[in-house]
């Protein structure tokens, strides 16, 4: 651990300020709490909000896991994991079950989370009404007065254009029958998992907002009576581990139409293969390791 930094990079007063925002967010589920976001040593859009929230909830004994689109080994995940290894000296793991704090970009892990875990989301645009109503003063008023008709106008437009609700990520939800919330750009496949045992914290660094879902909060995806919400995924099984229930990434293999579908959650896929599951294009785990 590099002693030139305070634990987890941020100074204690900043962490205190962020914790207050987090507590307020937990007290009012789905409400966007403004906070004084700091400059972080990475560009906006790389998860500055999530990093600040993670830094504020980490303790030296914690084990941390960072995922980017479900994967532990992509640039964003690796650099943020290294950031906390260097500035906080915490243990890191790729295993969902071993982690106390999981910072995620655009996915919820396949494995069910527990009550003693915290899931931190990186949020690009926290305001679900933003692309319908550009004025911040107006969207705040709409949240305050619970005027959410406009959100359905977006879904209406989807159906009238495409014959179905085509919004497939950042699918708006209503929290505890009150606030409409953007669950960050997770695929709508993950929406039903938002009602979980772990604490969920959402940090938007550039937009300077924090919001939260306490454990077991009621989260309902918006829809129409005649066009109900559907958690969709590619109609395929994972080609590596054979899972038929996990969310899949489509990987183009060559320029002759070759493709494979693989679990977007790399840890989930890895542990299934270790347990002996083999998909259509996969090889047994032991041979792969050798």
């Amino acid at each position: 651990m590099n002693q030139e930094y305070n634990f987890a990079y941020l100074d204690e007063q900043t962490k205190r300020m962020i914790r207050r925002a987090i507590l307020k967010g937990l007290a009012i589920p789905g409400y966007q709490v403004p906070f004084a976001s700091r400059e972080m040593p990475m560009p906006y859009g790389w998860g500055t909000g999530g990093v600040q929230v993670s830094a504020s909830v980490l303790t030296p004994e914690d084990t941390m896991k960072v995922i980017d689109q479900g994967a532990d080994d992509t640039t964003n995940a690796v650099s943020i994991r290294k950031f906390f290894e260097k500035t906080a000296g915490v243990a890191t793991s790729e295993e969902t079950a071993k982690a106390d704090v999981i910072q995620t970009r655009h996915r919820i892990p396949e494995e069910d989370l527990r009550e003693d875990q915290i899931l931190v989301y990186q949020v690009p645009i926290p305001e679900p009404l933003r692309f319908l109503e550009p004025r911040e003063t107006e969207t705040r008023k709409m949240h305050a007065l619970e005027e959410y008709g406009l959100m359905h106008v977006k879904l209406y437009e989807d159906i009238s254009k495409n014959g179905a609700i085509s919004t497939s990520y950042a699918y708006p939800v209503k929290v505890e029958g009150r606030y409409v919330m953007d669950p960050s750009p997770i695929p709508k496949f993950d929406n039903p998992k938002l009602e979980m045992a772990a604490i969920q914290l959402f940090g938007a660094g550039r937009e300077q907002r924090i919001y939260a879902l306490p454990p077991y909060t009621k989260v309902v995806s918006l829809d129409f009576e005649d066009y109900p919400f559907e958690a969709s995924k590619a109609d395929h099984a994972c080609d590596l581990c054979g899972s038929e229930t996990s969310y899949l990434d489509e990987v183009i293999m060559d320029d002759a139409g070759g493709r494979m579908f693989v679990c977007s959650d790399t840890d989930f896929c890895h542990s299934r293969r270790a347990a002996g599951h083999v998909g259509a294009q996969g090889v047994p785990f032991e041979e792969d390791a050798a």
Binding site: E147, L150, H152, V153, Y156, E157, S160, K161, F224
Partner: protein, 256 residues
């Protein structure tokens, strides 16, 4: 018969300047009132105060609500006022662009008020939107087109459909025919007159076009420098103007 809408001593200042001062009137169900006057006479200020878009400095704006009878809309809470604004009230802007969502299809524009009051059935919303497009003479095939692909007259008719879809009882109109050419104006006026009579709407129409009030309004209020200078039945005021300014206004109309 009790009035639907009552205004008492409404006053609005912009700093030291008068927006409108001591305006009082009653509006009865099914009645259409015109407000005329030159630019800067306080017509739009008055209308915005009445519709709750501006906070007046003094006076009362009473509306006969369905639930609790006469209520002062100036002192009622903001959620209640905004609720009125999308149920029993409607506001037709001079520029259709101010009243429409230009990035949303015609059907979405008409459906917005329905969804805002809790409609959650796509088929029903769409059916109603098609019905209303027909009533304002827009072809049902255009339902998925954006208003930006519509002509000025169509945009204005779409704005009217969007406002009337929830069956309001009081409509505020700010120069509804402004910026349209005369043949389109005539068609729009015809349509408005039909809808107002058919739905038994009350309406307050602000305009500087005397032909519009002659056609639509039962009563007329003439404003000058923020004050009401003359009121009366439309034909009476236009044919036998008493106040000097009204005489000037009536005699200024160009004859073809």
């Amino acid at each position: 018969m009790t009035p639907l809408f009552q205004v008492k001593n409404l006053t609005k200042f912009y700093g030291n300047r008068i927006g409108c001062k001591n305006v009082s009137f009653d509006l009865y169900p099914g009645e259409v009132m015109g407000i005329v006057g030159e630019s800067g006479s306080g017509k739009s200020t008055l209308l915005n105060c009445l519709a709750g878009h501006l906070a007046p400095d003094a006076g009362e704006v009473l509306f006969d609500t369905r639930a609790d009878g006469m209520r002062d809309t100036v002192t009622m809470s903001e959620p209640e006022r905004r609720m009125l604004g999308r149920t029993d009230w409607a506001f037709v802007h001079q520029h259709a662009r101010d009243g429409l969502r230009m990035g949303v299809s015609a059907g979405g524009n008409v459906g917005e008020r329905l969804m805002a009051v809790g409609a959650r059935h796509y088929g029903d919303i769409r059916h109603k939107a098609i019905d209303w497009l027909g009533r304002v003479e827009i072809n049902a095939e255009r339902i998925d087109d954006r208003p930006s692909a519509f002509s000025g007259g169509m945009q204005q008719r779409l704005q009217i459909a969007r406002n009337l879809v929830t069956g309001p009882r009081l409509v505020f109109m700010d120069e509804p025919t402004g910026g349209l050419d005369v043949s389109v104006q005539a068609r729009l006026l015809d349509l408005l007159r039909g809808l107002v009579r058919e739905m038994g709407l009350s309406a307050i129409i602000v305009t500087h076009d005397l032909a519009v009030v002659r056609l639509l309004a039962d009563r007329l209020m003439v404003m000058k420098d923020g004050h009401v200078v003359e009121t009366g039945l439309t034909d009476q005021v236009l044919d036998d103007p008493q106040h000097g300014y009204t005489q000037l206004l009536v005699s200024s109309v160009l004859q073809v």
